[in-house]
């Protein structure tokens, strides 16, 4: 009840905070349960959530690979989809970093330059939004497990999101948060890097998995599903390693395992 009130209070004009969800193409196609958890979590906080159907992808796979025309064509769907959104929130550090840092450059000198600038300024990663915009850390979650957190590169170095997810995880009942050694080292995903330099990407990921194993954690979590998909894929192939869950799945859990 308190958090619901908090959400309302921090919104513009006294009504409920309105958030447009950018679900990201990866969660849309492969991990819809993470997207549903994000909807449930935000709604429980009193946020009014909508999902503009015109969105597809931030364009990052093409942008990072040097295909900037292709990236722009796809990224335009977000400029259209979120043209009237008050806040845009995504359960991904990487996609938000793309919008915040690279949209202004990608669209510089085009008719959509101002739209890109404006979108960059009102787009947030989900944990960041909850802690810094809704001023909430206790989400009433319960998750009895030993958990370690992988701070993905685009979230920590790209967006400077370091404390927000940790604050949220520490407030989860029953959850024991353990430090991941070499936490800020890259997991090796890297988009098309994962297939262009597949052996190297896997070697980097294996090191991350070994570090996670050394903590004795039951669950490895993070806020970028792309990194987690890579790590989960390695763990599955090796047959050893912690369970992998997006941080939203933990934050949305209500007792017992997610």
């Amino acid at each position: 009840m308190f958090t619901r009130f908090a959400a309302r209070r921090s919104g513009k004009g006294g009504g409920a905070v309105r958030v447009s969800l950018f679900i990201t193409c990866l969660l849309d196609a492969f991990y819809p349960q993470v997207g549903r958890a994000a909807v449930e979590l935000l709604e429980r906080l009193g946020v009014q959530v909508d999902f503009p159907m015109a969105q597809t992808c931030c364009g990052q796979p093409a942008f990072n690979s040097g295909f900037h025309d292709e990236a722009r064509a796809v990224a335009t769907t977000l400029l259209d989809a979120f043209a009237n959104s008050e806040y845009v929130v995504a359960p991904s550090g990487s996609c938000v970093a793309m919008i915040r840092h690279y949209f202004p450059r990608l669209f510089a000198g085009t008719p959509r330059a101002a739209d890109a600038q404006a979108l960059a300024q009102r787009t947030y990663e989900l944990c960041e939004f909850i802690v810094e915009r809704l001023n909430t850390t206790d989400l009433g979650a319960e998750f009895p497990a030993r958990v370690t957190y992988h701070p993905s590169c685009h979230a920590t170095r790209g967006l400077g999101i370091k404390e927000a997810p940790l604050k949220l995880l520490r407030a989860v009942r029953g959850l024991e948060l353990v430090d991941l050694p070499y936490a800020e080292d890259c997991c090796g995903f890297g988009g098309t890097f994962a297939v262009k330099f597949a052996d190297l990407s896997a070697a980097m990921g294996v090191r991350k998995v070994e570090n996670a194993l050394s903590t004795g954690a039951d669950v490895l979590t993070g806020l970028d599903m792309s990194c987690l998909m890579h790590l989960q894929g390695l763990i599955g192939r090796q047959g050893r390693g912690p369970r992998v869950l997006h941080v939203v799945e933990i934050l949305n859990s209500r007792g017992g395992a997610a």
Binding site: G35, F189, G236
Partner: protein, 464 residues
């Protein structure tokens, strides 16, 4: 020539290399961390260093002219070498004039760039590297694998084997014996040498000071013992004033080795003057362009700000796995992946920019704040413009663009893919995928597309 992918694969199979590179780089990055945490104004120091470098490179012509004038006023010779060949010819000409037989060298990456040792050898001149690591890679017939720890890819057993060949007897593998052997061998060479060749960490425009930073003292001997001294300098190494030098030496030492100051910082001013006990009779400063000026005025100009500290190499997860040789030329790690295609040919070397997960660790530590991972993205775009992107990626992103630039098409396409994947799904995972995704499956599992996508769920539950 091998591709970057092939070199990386070879490096990954070399377990001794992997262990040695990880141990060195991990140690160096911890030392850097400690040295940086020990000061409370690190970010201010970085910003000052960035401003000095940005200002200098923006006015490079002015400061190089000033430097040349000051060095000449001190009695030195200055030569501007536009190409590697020009630099080599100049050094050979100086050596010929002085009938040089033996050259001692202190570490110089520019001399690696212009392959000076091979050219000297072809003219009957023996060049001996006197930096311990550089001496090791020279004996092995290799190139440095790291900006400041050139033999970090070798373990002690490998080094002992190399030294034993020179000694003509098996040497034990303890560091004291190996160091002692190198010291005695090199000491003889120092006394025989007619010419000293060094690199140049910085050159101060206002005073004509040439600055060399080492931790072994060999640079000091190379610049004082032989009759003729040649300093090779990348054209971007100039700094305006001694004050600027102070600021840059501070961030260099902390970023490179985690020291407050390197053990030996050698400042030389021209050749030996009358009444001075030591120093060369003749001093030549060779200022090398070799592709650098092509970066001026482009989005890649900031790459010239680099002070070669190696911090980006030590934190780079790619470099930490494969070392410097995998990059195929002289410079490895993030800065190598940026400048190699720019100094050479992007059509041949553009693939180096792909060897990065864009994790940004390099940018975070760079003492002069070069946005290395952004420059890598820029290079990937340049490669694509030059038609160098792999064809399967071009095709894949063509299809991707068509599919993803319209949400209705994406939704229909997704529905189709959900059906098409069925024969290949087993236990919620894909057992087969077309290239280039097949490379993913070589190492990892890939989940099947969810039977109901998020947008399908939203449409069903919330009515779109």
């Amino acid at each position: 020539m091998e591709t970057m992918v092939q070199r990386v694969q070879r490096a990954l199979q070399d377990a001794a290399l992997g262990r040695a590179v990880w141990r060195t780089t991990d140690g160096m990055r911890s030392n850097r961390r400690r040295a940086v945490d020990a000061v409370d104004d690190w970010e201010a120091k970085r910003e000052r260093a960035r401003q000095i470098r940005a200002h200098t490179i923006a006015h490079l012509d002015y400061y190089l002219a000033q430097l040349a004038q000051r060095v000449r006023a001190l009695g030195g010779h200055v030569y501007f070498a536009e190409t590697a060949g020009d630099a080599v010819q100049y050094v050979l000409e100086v050596a010929r004039r002085h009938r040089v037989r033996t050259v001692v060298k202190s570490k110089s990456m520019v001399s690696e760039e212009i392959e000076l040792n091979a050219h000297l050898a072809a003219h009957g001149i023996t060049a001996v590297e006197t930096d311990l690591g550089e001496y090791i890679v020279q004996l092995a017939g290799e190139r440095p694998s790291h900006l400041i720890a050139p033999a970090m890819h070798k373990d002690r057993q490998q080094i002992a084997a190399l030294f034993s060949q020179v000694a003509g007897e098996p040497l034990p593998t303890d560091a004291a014996t190996l160091n002692g052997f190198a010291r005695r061998t090199l000491r003889r060479t120092f006394l025989e040498a007619d010419m000293g060749i060094t690199g140049c960490n910085f050159a101060v425009a206002e005073t004509g000071t040439l600055v060399l930073v080492t931790n072994e003292g060999n640079g000091r001997m190379v610049t004082t013992l032989p009759r003729v001294q040649v300093t090779l300098m990348g054209m971007e190494r100039v700094v305006p004033t001694l004050d600027d030098l102070d600021a840059l030496l501070d961030v260099l030492a902390r970023s490179a080795t985690g020291q407050k100051m390197s053990s030996y910082t050698t400042l030389t001013h021209g050749p030996r003057r009358p009444g001075e006990p030591d120093g060369p009779e003749e001093l030549h400063l060779v200022i090398v362009d070799n592709g650098r000026s092509q970066m001026l005025g482009t989005e890649f100009q900031e790459a010239l700000h680099c002070i070669r500290c190696s911090a980006c190499q030590n934190v780079c997860p790619v470099f930490q796995h494969v070392g410097g040789h995998a990059y195929g030329w002289v410079y490895g790690g993030p800065i190598g992946a940026v400048i190699t295609p720019l100094l050479r040919d992007i059509r041949q070397w553009g693939e180096l920019a792909d060897a990065s997960s864009l994790c940004g660790a390099c940018t975070a530590v760079c003492p002069v704040k070069i946005p290395l991972h952004d420059l890598l993205i820029g290079l990937r775009r340049e490669s694509e413009r030059h038609g160098q992107a792999p064809r399967r990626f071009r095709q894949a992103f063509g299809v991707w663009r068509r599919l993803m630039s319209d949400a209705r098409r994406w939704e229909r396409g997704l529905k189709l893919l959900q059906i098409m994947q069925r024969p290949f799904v087993h236990g919620g995972r894909l057992r087969w995928a077309p290239p280039p995704i097949d490379q993913w499956l070589a190492h990892r599992e890939l989940p099947a597309l969810a039977p109901q996508s998020f947008r399908q769920w939203w449409r069903a539950e919330r009515g779109g």
